[in-house]
């Protein structure tokens, strides 16, 4: 792979006394969507949090845009151009939708064209602009979480299970927004349990098991091989 935007090499992360990542090696290509797949407890969320510096890796290298970021504090990593959407969405419930987005625009005031883009992707956010984010529905909170990452152009978006617990209509909205982001040339590393969504959005896939990457390849290749899916992830897909 030529010039990946992010590369992890031998990343080992512990949480307390538990060894979660046992040496993750992963490359995320520029301008593509890489899906990070795997069973529950495989280490997907830990991988994203290790990249963001929220859980500091014990050993290993994490290079973003050619520079080492392992060991840096989360604010330094974020300011290098990583946008993070955590599994729990990380919404500030007491802040309004507007305030959540103002805060997400770290380099200055929100750009009008960017805001228009966010509103066109998630019209509900303009409807509830002045409302505390805590009053939004689960789907609207997830839209806001993604909108916060989208409000400024980032070098890489780390998105953790955006479809978790959402209704199909909301997932469709989300998928359209992420497709727009992808069409804009964004690089995305996304954890997803919803295989249909992963298949629809992903260019490449990396499958984790027991704290390691056990398979990498094209998303289409994985989607076309049910036996491989079952072996790697225990998935038995119904034919769509």
């Amino acid at each position: 792979m030529s010039d990946p935007i992010l590369s992890l090499s031998g990343v080992k992360t512990d949480i307390g006394q538990y060894h979660i990542l046992h040496g993750v090696d992963l490359e995320v290509p520029r301008g593509q969507v890489t899906m990070l797949l795997g069973r529950n407890g495989a280490g997907k969320t830990t991988t994203l949090r290790s990249i963001m510096g929220l859980w500091r890796p014990r050993t290993g290298s994490i290079r973003f845009d050619g520079a080492e970021i392992a060991g840096l504090a989360p604010p330094q990593i974020a300011r290098r151009g990583l946008g993070f959407v955590p599994e729990d969405m990380g919404i500030f419930a007491d802040l309004t939708v507007e305030e959540n987005l103002i805060l997400a625009a770290i380099s200055g005031p929100i750009r009008r064209d960017r805001l228009d883009w966010v509103f066109s992707a998630f019209p509900a956010l303009s409807t509830f602009w002045k409302m505390p984010a805590g009053n939004l529905s689960g789907g609207q909170k997830q839209m806001l979480a993604i909108a916060r990452a989208m409000i400024e152009k980032r070098g890489l978006y780390l998105i953790d299970e955006p479809s978790k617990g959402l209704a199909p209509a909301i997932i469709a909205t989300m998928a359209r927004a992420l497709r727009d982001l992808k069409a804009d040339g964004a690089s995305i590393l996304m954890v997803e349990q919803n295989f249909s969504l992963a298949r629809a959005l992903g260019d490449r896939a990396a499958v984790m098991d027991d704290g390691r990457i056990v398979w990498t390849g094209g998303m289409a290749e994985l989607a076309a091989d049910p036996a491989l899916q079952e072996r790697l992830m225990g998935l038995k897909m119904e034919v769509a």
Partner: protein, 343 residues
């Protein structure tokens, strides 16, 4: 760039009780005032007690506001907060003594100027103390409440002993600036001038703090940090730096509160900070940890209730605020305006 979603967000109309619900804590303050009016026979006495209660509440708010933010932002329980109150009072009074010519003059402007200089000096000293306190005492014990309680209590004791060393062990009786002495009569009520000024100053500080928290990016970072500091860091903000700023500001406000409280009581002691901390803790808890608005409402409630009860049934004054805390926590265990913390 994209299509509108097929689902349209719906705005259901809230019921009257749902609409009133967020206002209930705010309505408690006028409810206590009305309750006091009904129970106290003389309207003049009621007005005097109300102004006194509001003044006391404002001073407690000034002291408690920094503490609630420190707790909310970094989960730090600072029992040493009272040290800044005592130190602030002693520094402020020392400045007032030096400026005796101004405080003794029959000029409101000169009196207020002297008072302002004393308050600024107290805030500068306690702000600097807060910076050192955070670095030396608090920072090594992040994440451990038990250690925080022990070590900050130790810090409080050391600070009290320092006051003894610098100013002596005796209590110091102080006189207010000349034009702030005495009272005015309004609708048959005797209202102390100083208490009216304390109410005004407290209100200005609350509005200023609210403007900063609601209207600036720094304020947004603080409010967001109280809810979910990890996410604030993941967005690119140095939450530790913000915390130090809040700690210093909170310490400075406690110092300012110390000057106000000392002039209110007209006596200062090294223990005054520790003594007022009981009321401060009640206010922080019933307001909702990390909530400035809750802290403000709680402080007013505590001040009013204490004054009314002391007038109506002096023996109950001591327990009235404990009873208030029990009642509030039974109604809202997280406090009146709880901050939703990320798990």
């Amino acid at each position: 760039m994209t299509h509108a979603p097929e689902h349209a967000p719906k705005m259901a109309r809230l019921s009257l009780s749902d609409r009133l619900e967020p206002w209930l804590p705010i309505l408690l303050v006028p409810a206590i005032v009305v309750f006091g009016f009904v129970l106290i026979d003389s309207p003049g006495s009621w007005l005097t007690l109300t102004v006194s209660g509001l003044a006391m509440g404002m001073m407690i708010f000034v002291i408690a506001s920094g503490m609630t933010l420190v707790f909310g932002l970094m989960d730090v329980i600072n029992f040493g907060h009272g040290a800044f109150v005592s130190f602030g009072a002693f520094v402020g009074v020392s400045v007032l003594v030096v400026l005796g010519g101004m405080t003794g003059a029959s000029s409101l402007a000169l009196n207020l100027l002297a008072l302002g200089m004393a308050m600024l000096a107290a805030m500068a000293v306690t702000g600097a103390m807060g910076f050192a306190f955070e670095r030396v005492i608090v920072r090594p014990v992040y994440g451990s409440h038990l250690k925080q309680i022990l070590v900050t209590m130790g810090g409080l004791i050391v600070a009290e002993q320092l006051i003894h060393v610098i100013w002596g062990g005796e209590e110091i009786f102080i006189g207010r600036p000349e034009m702030l002495k005495g009272s005015i009569t309004l609708f048959g009520a005797t209202l102390e001038k100083y208490r009216l000024i304390a109410v005004g100053l407290g209100l200005i500080l609350f509005l200023a703090m609210r403007a900063v928290l609601r209207g600036t990016k720094l304020g947004l970072i603080v409010r967001a940090g109280v809810e979910n500091p990890e996410m604030v860091m993941a967005m690119g903000y140095q939450i530790r730096r913000v915390f130090v700023m809040v700690f210093v500001a909170g310490s400075a406000l406690a110092g300012l509160g110390g000057v106000m409280w000392g002039l209110y009581q007209e006596v200062i002691t090294a223990q005054m900070g520790m003594e007022i901390m009981i009321l401060v803790f009640i206010v922080v808890i019933i307001g909702g940890l990390g909530s400035v608005e809750g802290c403000f409402i709680g402080a007013l409630m505590v001040g009013l209730l204490q004054n009314y009860t002391a007038f109506l049934e002096p023996k109950l004054a001591l327990i009235s605020n404990i009873a208030l805390m029990v009642a509030i926590l039974m109604w809202r265990p997280q406090g009146m305006i709880p901050v939703i913390k990320a798990k």
